[in-house]
């Protein structure tokens, strides 16, 4: 029942493409939305730039409602919305939508966390120059926290890759699905190992890039 590698390679290659597509789009859309959400969480925190108990309270609770939902359940619960937005609840495209949404929520916490360490003095300096909150967010908060943010997104890359593994549940394919269906479910550990190796190589490359960028950005 185990297929030989000549038939598996094209499948692996296709899965690779699907994973890349899913993760890239999710990180782009969800990553950006999450950046916005995380910034919103940070700036509305008591004592911060746009401190607003009500807004912070609502955002905080909403993020906490979404994030802990087991992802497969989330995918299903979001089904009706996905159907509206994507037109189908099956396949890679249909999976990217909930993946992006969850990525956004996960990202928001990472972003928030990484902003907490910013020296309030530099924010103050920008305020003193008459910079608008929007400008401060884009030109002070983000750049000042860039090194940890880069590492944060590297972290998220792996988290999203991990989430993408269950894309197969709704026919989304990808490396995780490939490893599960052609490896795990068929007790073919070679397939599992090869797939995991591919994933690990991607991750090493991304992490290497992340480390490099972070170091650059630290100017140390």
């Amino acid at each position: 029942m185990n297929r030989d590698w000549s038939t598996l390679w094209p499948l692996l290659w296709e899965a690779f493409g699907q994973t890349l597509q899913m993760v890239t789009i999710a990180l782009l859309t969800g990553g950006i939305a999450g950046l916005a959400l995380g910034l919103a969480l940070y700036v509305t925190r008591p004592g911060n730039l746009l401190a607003n108990k009500a807004v912070f309270g609502v955002l905080n609770v909403v993020v906490n409602i979404v994030r802990p939902i087991p992802f497969i359940i989330f995918v299903t619960l979001l089904g009706p919305v996905t159907l509206q937005v994507v037109g189908t609840t099956l396949g890679t495209e249909a999976f990217i939508f909930p993946l992006s949404v969850m990525t956004a929520f996960g990202t928001s916490r990472i972003v928030e966390q990484n902003l907490v360490g910013i020296d309030p003095g530099v924010v103050e300096a920008a305020r003193a120059m008459g910079a608008s909150s929007w400008r401060i967010i884009t030109t002070v908060l983000v750049p000042e926290a860039l090194a940890p943010l880069i590492l944060g997104y590297t972290f998220l890359f792996i988290a999203v890759l991990d989430m993408s593994a269950i894309a197969g549940l709704i026919g989304g394919g990808g490396l995780g699905d490939f490893a599960l269906r052609y490896g795990y479910q068929r007790y073919n550990w070679m397939v599992v190992l090869v797939t995991v190796a591919v994933i690990i190589v991607i991750v090493q490359v991304v992490q290497w890039l992340g480390n490099l960028l972070a170091r650059r950005v630290l100017h140390r």
Partner: protein, 373 residues
């Protein structure tokens, strides 16, 4: 004469007030641990003047200035900047006012993610200067603060004074109408300090920039400021023209500060050493603008046939006017010295320090204890 406690906002304005503080207080924290950093301060800074703020560490100087551009909100009272009451103004409106106020921070507060040039360009970007003008302005400012070669360095690669100079350039970038300088030269060597002060004086004179200078360097106050406020425990305990405050400080803190700054009166240690070196009668003679003390000293010495020498002291300018004192050793029989001093006393402030054998302790010399070893 200097005014004590706090000047009335109504009476003090000659020009249009650039900044008016009316009964301003600022408390940090609450309950037991509340700190009243600024306590019921009323103050007017006139447009175009250079206004100094001095006081002990922790007196509330930085907090006071931070209230002016609403980086802190007042707990009580109101802050009026160029006619606009900031109290309760929405952040968006305050922004417009802040854009006209430059601020040099005590802790520099540079953007670590930007180069030196990027830091100086930042306020220009905020003010939407076109790109080319921005570059030219940045180059000009960096040139002035002597950091042209560091334009592409990042703050972490700078020395303390270099950081401070970036802060100065940044604050001046948009040619604000008000400059708040919180210890703007504290990390600078004397010569760079001199250059910065000269620049401040120039922009003040040429462009009418109103400057509020917090400093602990009395020389800065002396040579730069028109008026000065002395703070202690959150309160302004004395405000007035620099010359008045220096020549006749009334508040305790003011007296101490002026004392340490003038270097003209010997500290007790120094006095002891003077007595060792100079066995004759030591007398300190004050020099004030208008008073003829200095001028007639030599004639009187001659007339009374008193010999001697200048052994200590300093006469320099405060607000472009002469000010200081000299300590002289007088060598002559006692009665001639007595006659001489009697004559001199009608014309100047004289403090008799006695001789090594019969020392007279001058209470005012204590003030300058730390001035010299």
């Amino acid at each position: 004469m200097s005014e004590t406690v706090s000047e009335s906002t109504a009476g003090a304005t000659a020009g249009t007030p650039a900044i008016e503080l009316r009964g301003v207080s600022k408390t940090f924290g609450d309950g037991d641990r509340a700190v009243r950093a600024v306590d019921d301060v009323s103050l007017t800074v006139r447009a175009g003047e250079i206004f100094g703020v001095i006081g002990y560490s922790g007196a509330g100087k930085s907090t006071l200035v931070r209230l002016v551009n609403a980086l802190e909100t007042v707990t009580a009272g109101s802050v009026v900047v160029e006619g606009t009451d900031l109290t309760g103004l929405p952040e968006r409106k305050i922004r417009g006012i802040r854009a006209r106020i430059g601020m040099i921070f005590q802790q520099f507060n540079l953007l670590n993610s930007r180069t030196v040039a990027g830091n100086v360009a930042y306020p220009l970007k905020v003010a939407r200067w076109p790109k080319e003008e921005r570059a030219a302005r940045v180059a000009e400012l960096l040139d002035f603060v002597g950091l042209a070669d560091k334009a592409r360095a990042y703050p972490r690669q700078l020395s303390g004074g270099q950081k401070q100079r970036v802060g100065i350039a940044r604050a001046l970038a948009t040619s604000p109408t008000i400059l708040l300088a919180d210890e703007a030269t504290s990390a600078l060597d004397p010569e760079t300090t001199r250059d910065v002060l000269a620049l401040l004086r120039r922009v003040n004179a040429e462009l009418g920039l109103t400057i509020v200078v917090i400093t602990h360097e009395m020389d800065v106050v002396r040579s730069l400021c028109d008026r000065v406020a002395v703070m202690e425990h959150g309160k302004v305990v004395e405000v007035g023209d620099v010359y008045d405050v220096f020549s006749a400080p009334s508040a305790d803190a003011a007296q101490r500060f002026v004392g340490t700054s003038m270097h003209d009166r010997p500290s007790p240690d120094a006095l002891a050493r003077l007595r060792e070196r100079h066995p004759g009668r030591l007398v300190t003679v004050g020099v004030r603008e208008g008073a003829s003390s200095g001028t007639e000293l030599f004639r009187l010495l001659r007339e009374h046939e008193v010999d001697g020498s200048v052994v200590f002291g300093g006469i320099s300018e405060v607000g472009e006017r002469p000010f200081g004192s000299i300590t002289v050793e007088l060598v002559a029989p006692d009665e001639r010295i007595a006659a001489f001093l009697a004559a001199l006393r009608t014309r100047a402030d004289v403090v008799d320090l006695g001789t090594a054998e019969r020392p007279v302790d001058d209470p005012r010399s204590l003030l300058t204890e730390g001035g010299d070893r």
